[in-house]
Symmetry: C2
Subunit: 324 residues, 2 copies
C-alpha cells in the first residue's frame, strides 16, 4: 500500500461501535453508533453500513476490526464473545465478501496494544504489555513490534490469570474464576468498593452521591477521586494495588519496555496506576523489569479504533511483503 | 557457519558444570565437573579449562553458556546468580577474550526451552513455554522459533509469578514471595510434602525411608511414587496440582503450542504432569489453549547443555545473516 491509501478501523464494544478512517497514519474523527446486539445478522449489517458510510464512496484499501471476543486471527473466525452476538462466526470472510476489501479481525485488547505501541503510525515500543481495565480485564501483547496472538490467536487473557487462589484447587469451573485478576481488580469490583466506601463514609463526596442518587458505582468513585475526595481515592487505590500484582506478574514474565494500563477505569490516571506501580515494584524479582515503564495508556478512548486501523495498515503491508 | 562446524555448549549448575561439543546438530557425550564455587575467578578458570578440554585442539566456531542467573543477553553481563559466584560479571566478554571465539551467555531455563523447541538441530515448535521445576522454578519462552528475553534479557521468571497472594498487599519484599509459584510448587516444597506424608504414613514405602534413613526428601517421594507407593504419589500429585495453576496462567497469557515441564522434579513424569494438566484445563478460559500440549519436557537432563550449544549455533547463524 502507499501510505496515503484509505483504511478503516472498527472498534466493536458491548455498548457502542466506533468507526474511523485512517489515511497517511492520521485517524479521522470516529463515527459512533449504539451496538446493534439484536442478532448476529443485524450486527454484521450495522458494521457493513457503518464502514460504507465512513468510506463515503472513496476507494478503500482494507478494514480492521477489534472485538471483545476470542478470535482466531489467521482465519478470522470469532469463536466466542462477551456482550455481543458473535459466536463461531467467520467474520473476516463475511465482511471481506460484503465489503469487497481485505478485512482483518482481532481481539480488541490486542489492537489497543498495537495502538499503544505506536506514536501516530510509527512504531515506538517493540515490547509492550497492555492491561485494559473495564467491566472486565483484557490484555494485549506486542513483541518485536508485532501483535502476539499465540498458537490459535487467543493469547493475552491477562484478566483470567490467577493471582489469589485458595487451597481448593481446582475450584469449580466458572469465569471469571475466584482469585483471578479480573475477579479482584476489574471495573465491577470498583463498583462494589465504591458502594462499600460510600456506605461507610456518608459525609464524603462519594457518600453524598449515594445519598442523592440512591446508587453509586465505579465511575462515580473515579470522578470523585479526581475531584479530590479521599474516600473515593482510597477505593481506586485499593483496585490499583490489586492490579499491581498482575502488573508484577507480567513484568516477571515479559520484562517488557512498557506496561500500559488502559480501559475505562484508567481514566483515574495516577490515582489507579500509582498504587499499581508501587505494588508491582515490590513483587518484581530484583534484576527484572529494570527498564520497564509502568504507565497510564496514552491512546485513550480511541485506542481500539486506532489499533484496528493500524492492524489493517500493517497487515496490508505485510501481505505486500514490505518491511514492517 | 557451515553445519558441521564445532560449537560447544556449557550448562553451569549450582552442583555441576556440563560441557559438550555439537557438530552438525549432534551433541557429543557431556563432560561433567563439580562446579567450582570458591570464587568468580576460579569458576571462570574452570569454564575456560573445560571448554578447551572438550574442544581438544580442534577449530571452534562458538561457545554457548547457560547459567542460573539474570543475564543481559545483548551485552552478556551476568547481573545476579543463584548458587554460583557470578554477580555483575561481563562473562560474555571475559570468556570471548580468554577463549578467542564468539561466546553467548544466557539464562539456563531460556536455553533449555530452546532445546525443547528443537528436535535435534531442527526447530519443531515455534511457540513454547518451558517451566523447570528444580530446587526453584524457572521458565523459558520461545516465540516465533526464537528465545524470548524481554527488554533487558531478564524475562521468563515464571517461578516468581504470584498465584496465591493473600490480602496483605504488598507483602514484605523477599524472594521467593509467599504466594509465588516457586513458594508453592518448587522442589523444596516437595521436600516438605514428602516429610509430612512420611510422618503421617509410617507404613508406606515413603514412611519406611524416613524410618530407615532418618530423613526423607522430594527425590525420595519421586522415586517411591514411580515405584508405586500411593502415599508418595499423592505428595507428587499435590505439587503437580499447584504447578497446574501456573501452567493455566501461562496458557491464558501465551496460548502456546506447548507447555513443557522440565527440571529435576519432572523425572516423576505423568505423576507430576498429569495432575498439573487436569488443573490447568479447569483454569484456562474456554476457547484459549485449544491447541496447547502440556507435556513432560523431552530434552531430559541434557536440555541445558544442548540448548547452550543450539544458542551458539543459532546466534552464529544470525550474525552471519542466514535464515533462522
Amino acid at each position: 500500500m502507499t501510505s496515503d491509501e484509505l483504511v478503516i478501523g472498527v472498534d466493536v464494544g458491548g455498548t457502542k461501535v466506533s468507526i474511523a478512517a485512517m489515511r497517511g497514519g492520521r485517524l479521522g474523527e470516529p463515527l459512533l453508533r449504539p451496538t446493534d446486539r439484536s442478532s448476529t445478522a443485524a450486527l454484521i449489517a450495522q458494521l457493513v453500513a457503518s464502514v460504507t458510510e465512513v468510506a463515503g464512496g472513496e476507494p478503500l484499501a482494507a478494514v480492521g476490526v477489534g472485538l471483545p471476543s476470542v478470535v482466531e486471527f489467521e482465519t478470522g473466525l470469532v469463536r466466542s464473545s462477551t456482550n455481543i452476538p458473535l459466536a463461531d462466526v467467520p467474520l473476516r470472510t463475511v465482511l471481506a465478501q460484503r465489503l469487497g476489501v481485505p478485512t482483518f479481525v482481532d481481539n480488541d485488547a490486542t489492537v489497543a496494544a498495537l495502538a499503544e505501541a505506536h506514536e501516530g503510525a510509527q512504531l515506538a515500543t517493540r515490547c509492550l504489555v497492555m492491561i485494559t481495565v473495564g467491566t472486565g480485564i483484557g490484555g494485549g501483547i506486542v513483541i518485536d513490534g508485532r501483535s502476539y496472538r499465540g498458537a490459535t490467536g487467543a493469547a493475552g487473557e491477562v484478566g483470567h490469570m490467577l493471582v489469589a487462589i485458595d487451597e481448593s484447587i481446582p475450584a469449580p469451573s466458572r469465569f471469571p474464576q475466584p482469585g483471578s485478576l479480573e475477579s479482584l481488580a476489574a471495573g465491577h469490583v470498583l463498583d462494589a468498593l465504591a458502594r462499600e466506601a460510600a456506605l461507610a463514609h456518608p459525609d464524603s463526596a462519594l457518600g453524598r452521591v449515594l445519598v442523592l442518587r440512591g446508587a453509586v458505582g465505579g465511575p462515580d468513585a473515579v470522578q470523585a477521586a479526581m475531584d479530590g475526595d479521599e474516600v473515593a481515592a482510597a477505593a481506586v487505590a485499593t483496585l490499583g494495588r490489586r492490579l499491581g500484582v498482575g502488573v508484577a506478574n507480567m513484568i516477571n514474565i515479559f520484562d517488557p519496555q512498557v506496561v500500559a494500563i488502559g480501559g475505562g477505569v484508567s481514566s483515574a490516571g495516577e490515582l489507579l496506576v500509582g498504587p499499581a506501580r508501587d505494588v508491582a515494584r515490590e513483587y518484581v524479582l530484583p534484576g527484572v523489569g529494570t527498564a520497564t515503564e509502568i504507565r497510564v495508556a496514552r491512546s485513550g478512548p480511541q485506542a481500539g479504533v486506532r489499533g484496528a486501523a493500524l492492524l489493517a495498515r500493517s497487515e496490508l503491508k505485510r501481505q505486500n511483503g514490505e518491511a514492517r
